[in-house]
């Protein structure tokens, strides 16, 4: 029977080697494998112990519960590899495969660090996108929507394997749909938010992920977010405001959506906001995605023989389609001509986005300081961070 075997302890299999990041959920550490896991590196997400005393305390947080449940059932090359979950000393640890890079870092390397400015090679962009769409396709076929795709959540290993990470907001669809705002926190990053959500659509469909993929594609090419709006904050009564600035940014490139293209447009609760987007002033002439694309090719010095080309533009146009019904699905996008060279996963770069790439991307920064702060014995208030050390008293598993 389960429960009669002595519990497996995290520190017998992993050794923490650094601190990666922290967030509302808790902290992420880098660890190296020991005892059978030698030579492999892992990321360990440690969930924050919560404030048990509060009357509103809900136990394990909703997002942690869902992330663990989803990770336990998903497995794909292009989705972050969930190795195992530990429950020990009242804390949850999720062990994931480790990736040295993420798309945010890669974009940052090109926009800030590399001088003179060089674009992300066309072949790399294509491979990243291909792998990202493969991961999306898998998630959607498993009836899971990610709902928070953005460069920081797309991991890349040093072997060029692209993996979708952070399933904290992911959701199985066809089950109750979660509103954008849970409690008083805005949960989806605004720059990658699909127009149907901005216009008040309350149903998530997988199409919201494909809009985000379009935005990420554009960002890989232009090295900055294509629609970098300013987030309107909630008022004191927690009314959710219309995200005017974000909508403006989209309209400035794509032009206003029309019913011809998007027949259901007028049924979205906030569609009237489109009429007052610029107040009494005359709306600016939209740039058009083609012009935007041509400008980016120029600004970033894309060489003729290694640019995402016209096929890239065509794919982007179909991903940044206002109408969620006609926007490409992940499966359709993978069949786009842009990916013909991938030959259904057998072509160059189908599995390695750095294939033929001469750029050395810097590895993820691992902070030893942050880590040392949370080392056993250097306890910060409220967070019992000594739990990665062999415990002095063995807590019973269960009750």
């Amino acid at each position: 029977m389960a429960g009669h075997t002595p519990p497996k302890r995290l520190q017998n299999y992993y050794q923490i080697t650094g601190f990666i990041s922290s967030g509302t959920y808790g902290r992420v550490y880098r660890a190296k494998g020991i005892k059978g896991n030698e030579g492999r590196t892992f990321a360990i997400k440690k969930f924050k112990p919560d404030k048990e005393g509060e009357p509103t305390y809900t136990g394990i947080s909703q997002s942690a519960t869902r992330e663990m449940a989803l990770c336990a059932e998903l497995s794909h090359t292009n989705v972050i590899q969930h190795v195992e979950t530990y429950l020990q000393d009242k804390t949850i640890y999720m062990v994931f495969g480790y990736a040295e890079h993420d798309l945010l870092q890669i974009v940052h390397h090109h926009s800030q660090l590399a001088q003179p400015r060089k674009p992300v090679p066309g072949a790399t962009v294509r491979s990243i996108l291909y792998q990202l769409l493969k991961g999306c396709d898998y998630l959607h076929k498993s009836w899971v929507m990610h709902r928070d795709l953005k460069p920081a959540n797309i991991m890349v290993t040093s072997a060029g394997q692209v993996m979708i990470g952070d399933l904290g907001l992911a959701r199985v669809f066809r089950e109750p749909l979660v509103p954008l705002y849970t409690g008083d926190k805005v949960v989806v990053t605004i720059w990658y938010r699909a127009p149907e959500l901005i216009l008040g659509g309350r149903h998530y469909t997988p199409a919201v992920d494909l809009w985000a993929v379009g935005c990420i594609f554009a960002e890989l090419v232009s090295l900055r977010p294509i629609f970098k709006g300013e987030e309107a904050k909630m008022d004191s009564k927690k009314n959710v405001p219309f995200q005017k600035s974000q909508m403006q940014k989209i309209v400035e490139v794509l032009g206003f959506p029309g019913e011809g293209q998007w027949p259901l447009l007028k049924s979205y609760p906030e569609h009237k906001e489109l009429g007052t987007l610029y107040g009494a002033a005359r709306p600016p002439r939209p740039m058009g995605l083609r012009t935007w694309w041509a400008n980016q090719m120029k600004i970033n010095n894309y060489p003729g023989n290694d640019s995402p080309g016209d096929q890239g533009l065509s794919l982007l146009e179909q991903l940044l389609d206002y109408n969620p019904e006609t926007r490409l699905t992940a499966e359709q996008a993978l069949k786009h001509k842009f990916f013909d060279v991938m030959r259904d996963g057998e072509g160059p770069g189908a599995r390695d986005c750095f294939e033929g790439c001469s750029i050395e991307y810097p590895k993820r920064k691992i902070s030893q300081e942050e880590y040392s702060q949370s080392l056993p014995g250097t306890k910060r208030s409220g967070l019992p961070d000594d739990s990665l050390r062999p415990p002095s008293k063995r807590l019973r598993d269960g009750f």
Partner: protein, 339 residues
């Protein structure tokens, strides 16, 4: 439904009919665009969706045997207390579902966690409080997985015993671990729309959905949910709701339009059909649950305030379902008096 009316009164289920109908897949009358949008999505790939659900069922070990089931041979005397405790737990789960306005689906998911847990771990004799703690933890986990917003742990109330939040959380973790962190759950409700379409097409008898829902809820008391696939339970419920006097031949004929599973699973449908048939005829052997009268009476008074006629709920339902704010939790319910 006779005796079991005490537990889940038919009129309480009326409200559930709109709930079921108006949840995403059933919003047949939907007028707003969002529903249209969603409906198109549903109809386009329902077959594919249903197939993937059936596949996932196998991954969650549905169909495996364990010892809590009333149909199980190994229910020795030492297990009989567990049987009673399970019935009480189900009673509490469905009552609490009503108080919070959770979907039936959520309560059902909770019972599957409960049964899966007990199929993997023993609970020492007569420790009724552990069963109670297990029910709270399972319901809380199910709410987190399936509802938009989960109540605070301190909001879960039990007669006689109220657990500290810390305690419930600890149990939540143990449940997750025991279930191998696999909390994705499939319930018969997901299949109702599909089977109703397959078995009756356009000519739907009145009250079909509420009958089927009622039967699904009722069968949770009779079987260990791990013993039958949710799809088989759903198919049986729809069939009984259409006609509870089908012969085996007629059932086989009905089932022949379904190509989801093999003949082995058809046997499961027949066995569920029989159990539900007995429920219909009031022949079930499972004793009426030992509910404390105090609990029931307090439930009465609290739910009577929210009584209003259910037709208004039906018309207002679409929006309610879609916005799903906190107020949705107080699903208006009419509760009949105890039999």
């Amino acid at each position: 439904m006779g005796d079991s009316g005490t537990l889940f009164s038919p009129s309480a289920l009326l409200c559930n009919e709109d709930e079921v109908f108006l949840s995403e897949e059933y919003s047949g009358e939907a007028k707003t665009c969002m529903d249209l949008e969603y409906l198109c999505f549903v109809s386009e790939n329902e077959d594919e969706y249903i197939k993937s659900l059936v596949q996932r069922e196998s991954a969650i070990d549905f169909g495996s045997k364990s010892c809590v089931s009333s149909s199980c041979d190994c229910s020795s005397t030492s297990q009989s207390w567990l049987k009673g405790a399970r019935l009480d737990a189900i009673e509490w789960i469905f009552n609490t579902r009503e108080i919070f306005g959770f979907q039936f689906h959520t309560a059902y998911v909770c019972v599957t966690y409960f049964d899966r847990f007990l199929s993997k771990r023993y609970i020492d004799d007569e420790k009724v409080w552990t069963i109670r703690l297990l029910s709270v933890a399972c319901l809380s986990l199910a709410a987190k997985m399936e509802e938009c917003k989960a109540p605070a742990l301190s909001e879960y109330r039990m007669e006689e015993i109220n657990f500290k939040s810390k305690m419930i959380k600890k149990m939540e973790l143990l449940v997750m671990k025991t279930l191998d962190w696999k909390l994705g759950s499939i319930t018969p409700f997901a299949y109702l729309h599909y089977f109703i379409n397959k078995f009756c097409g356009e000519s739907r008898p009145k009250g079909l959905v509420s009958r089927a829902v009622e039967l699904i809820v009722a069968i949770t008391r009779e079987i260990n949910l791990m013993d039958h696939r949710p799809s088989a339970i759903a198919a049986a419920a729809v069939l009984v709701a259409i006609d509870d006097q089908f012969t085996k031949k007629e059932l086989e004929l009905k089932m022949s339009v379904i190509s989801l599973w093999g003949s082995l699973e058809n046997e499961h449908v027949f066995s569920c059909y029989n159990i539900m048939q007995n429920i219909e005829m009031g022949k079930v052997k499972t004793p009426k649950s030992v509910v404390s009268p105090k609990l029931l009476s307090s439930m009465h008074s609290s739910s009577i305030d929210v009584i209003e006629n259910s037709s208004s709920t039906i018309s207002a339902g679409t929006k309610r379902r879609l916005t799903f704010t906190n107020s949705d939790r107080t699903c208006p319910v009419k509760r009949s008096h105890r039999a």
